[in-house]
Symmetry: C2
Subunit: 265 residues, 2 copies
C-alpha cells in the first residue's frame, strides 16, 4: 500500500459499472475504502454507481487518475484485452476480477498487478450480496502486490485462496458446467413443463435435495435417474417425448451417453 493511504483506508478506482463492479464497489465502500472514480463507457452507468459510492464518474480511460492504490478491472472477459491497452500506466496495483483471463495480460504492462476472482454469479437486481463466504481466488505479480491484495481480500471474505492462472481457468470452466449449464437445464425443464401448463416450482423440493446430496457426498456417488440404472426403456420413452424438440433431444442424448459411459467404468 502507498504511504499516502497507509494512514487511512486505501483509495480505489473502479473500472466497470456492471454487476460485479456494483456489488464489489458497494462492499468495498461499506468497509471504509475510498472509491475515487468509477469508469463506464456509458455516462449513465458511470453516474449511477459513482453517486452510490461518492466517487467521480468518468467515461474515458485517459481520465483515470494515476495515484490511486488499487485499480479494479470489472469488465466483461471479451473487452478486457482491448481495455487494458487503454488504461494509463499507473503506480498502484491493477487487479482484474475475471475467471478466464490470465494474469499475464496485466503483468506485461503493470509492475504491480494481480487477480481477485470471486467465485459467484452477480446480478444488479439483487440488492446486496455479502462477500463473507464467497471464495476469492487471488494471485499477484510480486510479493508486495500479493500482500496488499491478500490484505484487501481478507477484509472482504473469510475464504481467500492463492490460485494460479491455470487453476483459476479450470475453476471458471467447472463453474460454467456446474452453474451456467445447470441453469440452462433448469430453463429446459421449465419450458417442457410450461407446455403442459405446470409451473417450474413443482421441481423446487427435488432441486434443493439434489444440491443437499452433493454437499455430503461426491456428485458421482449420488447420481440417480434412468441413465445410471441403464434403464434403456425409459430413455427411449424420453427420446420419443422429445421428438419435436430436437435441440433438447440432442442434449438428452449427449448427457445420457456420458452418464452411461462414466458409470460403466
Amino acid at each position: 500500500m502507498s504511504k499516502k493511504a497507509s494512514a487511512n483506508f486505501p483509495e480505489i478506482v473502479l473500472i466497470g459499472a456492471g454487476n460485479l463492479a456494483t456489488h464489489l464497489g458497494k462492499c468495498l465502500y461499506g468497509k471504509g475504502f475510498k472509491i475515487a472514480q468509477v469508469y463506464s463507457k456509458t455516462q449513465n452507468s458511470a453516474n449511477i454507481l459513482a453517486k452510490a459510492l461518492k466517487a467521480e464518474p468518468i467515461t474515458s480511460f485517459t481520465s483515470i487518475k494515476k495515484d490511486s492504490d488499487y485499480y479494479f478491472i470489472c469488465l466483461k472477459d471479451d473487452v478486457i484485452n482491448e481495455s487494458v491497452s487503454k488504461i494509463p500506466v499507473v503506480k498502484g496495483i491493477v487487479i482484474h476480477t475475471s475467471g478466464s483471463v490470465s494474469m499475464g495480460l496485466l503483468s506485461e504492462k503493470f509492475e504491480h498487478c494481480g487477480v481477485l476472482y470471486p467465485i459467484q454469479t452477480f446480478n444488479k437486481k439483487i440488492k446486496k450480496i455479502s462477500f463473507k463466504h464467497i471464495p476469492l481466488c487471488t494471485e499477484a505479480s510480486n510479493e508486495y502486490s500479493l500482500n496488499s491484495i491478500l490484505q484487501l481480500a481478507n477484509t472482504l471474505s473469510d475464504d481467500v485462496r492463492l490460485i494460479n492462472s491455470k487453476q483459476r481457468q479450470v475453476i471458471h470452466l467447472a463453474a460454467v458446467f456446474a452453474c451456467n449449464f445447470s441453469n440452462h437445464l433448469f430453463a429446459i425443464a421449465a419450458d417442457l413443463l410450461k407446455k403442459e401448463e405446470i409451473d417450474f416450482s413443482i421441481l423446487y423440493p427435488l432441486i434443493v435435495q439434489t444440491i443437499e446430496k452433493v454437499k455430503s457426498n461426491t456428485p458421482l456417488e449420488v447420481q440417480t435417474g434412468p441413465a445410471v440404472r441403464s434403464d434403456l426403456k425409459t430413455i427411449e420413452k424420453h427420446m420419443e417425448l422429445l421428438q419435436n424438440e430436437i435441440n433438447y433431444q440432442e442434449i438428452y442424448r449427449v448427457i445420457t451417453g456420458n452418464i452411461l459411459n462414466s458409470h460403466q467404468k
Copy 2:
C-alpha cells in the same frame, strides 16, 4: 377403503424394498398405517425393511395376500411391466409410484388402481425424509380409487396434485433434465477440479446462489456465463482446456450451442 379398514388405519402391502419403498414404508408406518407385507426378490432386503415396519417379508409374488387395502408398487421402471403380470388379482387399490409408467399398465388388470408419484430423489443412506413438502402426483382408475388415494396422499404431504399420465411423464422428463443431468454436470465439474487438486466444495456458494436465483426468477431470465454473452473468445478457450476430454467437450459444445440459440431468438 374397505369396510375392514375403516374402523382402523388401512392395511398396505409394499412391493419393493428399495430407496422409495424404504422411505415411503417408514413414513406410512409412522402415520399409523399397518404394513402387512414387504416383497423383495432378495430375502435380505425383504427381511430388513419388513423388520423395521413389523411386516411379513416375502420373496414370491404368489405369497402376496389378496385382502389388503393398498398395494404400493415401488419397483424400478424397467421391471414394473414384468412384475405387474405376476401380481395376483386383488380387490384393494394397486398403486404404482413411477414417474414414467402410464396408469394404463395397471388399469388393464386391476379394477381399482392409480398412481402416487413423489417428485423427489430417494436414497436409503439418508436417515429420514419428510414427505410433507414433496409434491405428490396422483391419478386413479375411478372415483372410489381416487378418493382413497387422495385421502392417503393428504396424510403424507401438503402438496397433492391431480396429474394425468402424459403430464406426469413430462414432469419426470423435466426432473431428469433439472436434477439427474445437473448432478452429472456437478460430477464433471468435480472431476475437472480434482485434476487441479481443488475440492468441489469451492463451488458450493455459487451453486447455492444459482438455485436461489431460479426461485425468484425464471431460469431463462437469470442465465449467465460466456454463452449468453456470446463471448466466443472464452468459449474457444474452454474448448481448448477440454481438448483431452472429448466427452466433456461434446457436452460443452451442445449446451453452449443451445444457450446461444435460445438467447438469440
